[in-house]
Amino acid sequence: MESSLGDSLVRLLGANSVLPVVDGNVDGRTPQVVVRPRDRVQISEFLSWASSEKVSVLPRGGGTRMGLGNVPRSADVVLDLSRLDRVVDYQPADMTATVEAGVTLASLQERLAPGGEFVPLESALPGRSTVGGTLSVGAGGPLAQAYGLPREWLIGISVLSPLGVATKAGGKVVKNVTGYDLNKLYTGSLGTLGVIVEASFKLLPIDPESGALLVSFPSLLDSVLAGRKLVRSPAGPLGYHGMTFGVFRRLQDSIQAASQGLGLGDTDAALSLAFYSGRAKATGRRMGEAAALLLSEGATAVQRVEGPAAQGLLRWIGDVPSEISPRSVLVMRLSVQPQSAARASVECGEVTLSGGKPDQIADPGFGAIRLFWPTPTDVPSAGGFVPGVRAAGLAQQQPILDAINRTQQVAKKYGGSAVVEHCPLHVKGQIDVWGDAPDSMAVMRRLKDKFDPGGMLNPGRFLGGI
């Protein structure tokens, strides 16, 4: 079977577009082939073939989030979209850009920078994460409080249906109500409805000044409560993140130098980062007022960094979850009503695993909290590169399930949801990582059935086993 699938695909697409499976393991399932088509025509030919052969397909951008979602029901072929790497159209004066799905976020921003603009899409590892992947995940980043989710910036999309039929929605203009807004539907659908091949975005001007505050607090709760005050004040930042010791001890090099005066030796202490940008005078005023406000709200020290150092901090806070996750036994992301972030953070902090409390990064402006329960030993886990030995993990199964359940209850209590981003594979196989199905589940299932009647795209990975 393995060779015949590969042989068929080589005949269909040519040897250059079919790759051996190297690191293609997805939640313990190893696909038989990775295809890397050279253009949309080839992707379309491939999808048409795959649907007639009833082959399951897992689209992949940069491959940075392949561990997200439920364990796939099947994973025959990984569809690598990295050759779709053209910036199709960029008009600085229109403040819009149209790009292919395989363009990485970093290369897109580099391309836009000479025009004085950027696209407010955020993802960890922007040098690898692609536009298509970021849209499919649909999540917010460190500045989500200011910029919201990718859905806010997507103005047009081209998608290949599971049969390989090219469709589009939206357009290249920044305001558009012509036809249904399928941009919203595809964003965050984890590749379960179609394969995104091109997207158009509205852009923002790059602010001339940027800066960040590094702030120490006696505890995470102090940090989150003060952050809540700050984000509601006129000195509100673009993004505010309070974090525990296990997170900020990873701050390195230049950033560490900047944080030396903060007195962060205590493991109960918390560090907050607040990010700013804008015109020089207003940004200076905001940061000055913010420092004063945070000090009056219990901060023990505040340090200010500017320009490149602030940019470095922003990249760090964006990437650090992907650094901590492989060393964690369980990672969850909560989205709750912002005002409830402090209470949710405290209650989740009491959910222990093997006696250990979770490390946290809490964003009280957007209402997002990431929780990392550290690995006591090297427990094999899904999403990592090494499946490893499972025996050590099996003993822990029930406590992990309990921790997941308790965290999801907290999220629900505060009007939100909690997604399991990372956990041992044998646990993952027993849960829906997205949590309970909402009362709109029937509509979601009908959507999947209409768009992908053969269930060939990312089968089983999405909410409710979609």
Partner: protein, 475 residues
């Protein structure tokens, strides 16, 4: 089920006094702000989600199409009832249920008027950002159906960027919740695709919208330009400075003339274009950026620049823009408004082509538009009493849309496709594109009994009628 049984059933659900079915009473529900009409067999005024659910379930069993109606300010025929259909309207579901100032969320019923919500929350230092120019009359439920915009959506986005969650009734009467009070949701973004679905997926009965803080400082600039071209250059110059104003609006010479006919807005007789720019933010930002905006206006050929910060003085600068459509009545008895959008850099070129259409058909066209986001509103002026006038207007309007699409734009920026533009959809979308859209409708409303006959081409011509200059019919 006979018609009588059906009507009696409706009366049982909402009470006799809340079902209208006498032809005289129905006339007012025959039209909206568009050029189309269609008489419903009844209009129902429910008071609760439960009543909406039971009404829709009854209609579904009876095979009767249902149209949700906001306040009828839409300009694309979205609220026009298909033959045999009923309307569900929301004058009784017009309550602001709760304002959560901590989380900056308002919970409202669909009949709440846009401006009433904004006025209410401003007392708490908050605002509801989407501000369609009909905001004195239009409702939040209608805003969701159309994904309404407004002058300030340049900086803040349209309705879809401000709706967090909704309770909606589907065509079989079932009630589901879309979105959530948290900013991230799991599963498909049903709230996102529902917004702007023109009432074809369901009817929103409870809506949670995001509120924003009122900015520390607001400054409005009014620039007078000799012609539209130089005003468009000013728009580009502002954008090139890395400035995204809160609003960026323009009116052309014919509109200026109409405004001056009605009351003196202080525009010179020879003005070719008026550009309005609004900045919001910290005082320091408004000062610094304001200086750049003012310089850009002078550098690009403004003959006059006026600024204001106090609310009443800013209102004075806006008066000409806000009253523009009403003032067009001083030039011709009727207008037909086209809602095309083009990339911002194509504005001047497209306006030139619109002027050619005007000459070709000998129809005066006044332009009132959202220059910042490229959303044109060419108003084709005519007199419905002249034979063949409406047919000529529809042809010229289609040509204007073709010009927009050829420039890389689209059919509608904020008013919706409705009945009016459904036959033009193929200018923008292929059959496959539309087939994908229809899959979503099949998932929400398999029987297509909610607002059927809208958005997608079906070859069935609609019944245009002339536009009355009714109050509230503004953009």
């Amino acid at each position: 089920m006979t018609t009588k049984q059906f009507l009696t059933g409706l009366q049982r659900i909402v009470g006799e006094e809340n079902v209208v079915f006498h032809p005289d009473d129905l006339l007012v529900f025959e039209y909206d702000g568009s050029v189309d009409r269609g008489l419903p067999q009844a209009v129902v005024f429910p008071a609760s989600t439960d009543e909406v659910s039971r009404v829709i379930a009854l209609a579904h069993r009876a095979g009767v199409p249902v149209v949700g109606r906001g306040t009828g300010t839409g300009l694309s025929g979205g609220a026009i009832t298909p033959p045999g259909g009923i309307q569900v309207a929301f004058p009784r579901m017009n309550h602001i249920l709760e304002v959560d100032t901590e989380n900056r969320i308002a919970f409202v019923e669909p009949g709440v008027i846009n401006l009433d919500l904004d006025t209410h929350v401003r007392k708490m230092g908050l605002r509801y950002a989407p501000d369609p120019s009909s905001q004195r009359a239009c409702s939040l439920g209608g805003n969701i159906a159309e994904n309404a915009g407004g002058p300030h959506c340049l900086a803040y986005g349209t309705t879809t960027n401000h709706v967090l969650g909704m309770e909606v009734v589907l065509e079989d009467g079932s009630v589901i919740n879309l979105g959530s009070l948290a900013r991230e949701t799991v599963g498909y973004d049903l709230r996102g695709v529902f917004t702007g679905s023109e009432g074809t997926f369901g009817i929103a009965t409870r809506i949670a919208v995001r509120l924003l803080p009122v900015p520390e400082s607001v400054r409005t600039f009014l620039g007078i330009f000799p012609d539209v071209e130089s005003a468009c250059t000013a728009v580009s110059a502002v954008i090139e400075h890395g400035i995204v104003p809160a609003a960026l609006e323009m009116i052309d010479a014919l509109t200026i003339q109409a405004v001056q006919n009605v009351s003196d807005a202080g525009y010179p007789d020879d003005a070719g274009a008026v550009l309005l720019i609004e900045l919001e933010g910290l005082q320091d930002e408004v000062d610094e950026i304001g200086g750049e905006v003012e310089a850009a206006l002078w550098e690009t050929g403004a003959t006059q620049v006026r600024t204001a910060e106090a609310a009443d003085e800013r209102e004075q600068l806006w008066v000409g823009r806000k009253g523009a459509l009403g003032a067009l009545g001083s030039i011709a008895p009727n207008y037909f408004l086209v809602d095309g959008v083009v990339p911002r850099t194509k504005l001047a070129q497209v306006l030139g082509q619109v002027a050619e259409v005007s000459r070709k058909y000998n129809i005066p066209i006044a332009n009132v538009f959202h220059a910042g986001d490229g959303n044109l509103h060419p108003c084709l002026l005519f007199d419905e009493r002249q034979p063949g006038a409406i047919q000529k207007i529809v042809e010229a309007g289609t040509e204007v849309l073709q010009v927009c699409v050829d420039a890389g734009g689209t059919l509608t920026g904020e008013h919706g496709v409705g009945l009016e533009k459904k036959e033009q959809m193929p200018l923008v979308f292929s059959d496959d594109d539309m087939a994908a859209m229809l899959l979503v409708r099949q998932a929400f409303a398999p029987d297509n009994s909610l607002n059927p006959g809208k958005i997608f081409p079906d070859g069935k011509s609609h019944t245009p009628r002339a536009h009355p200059f009714a109050p509230g019919m503004t953009v």
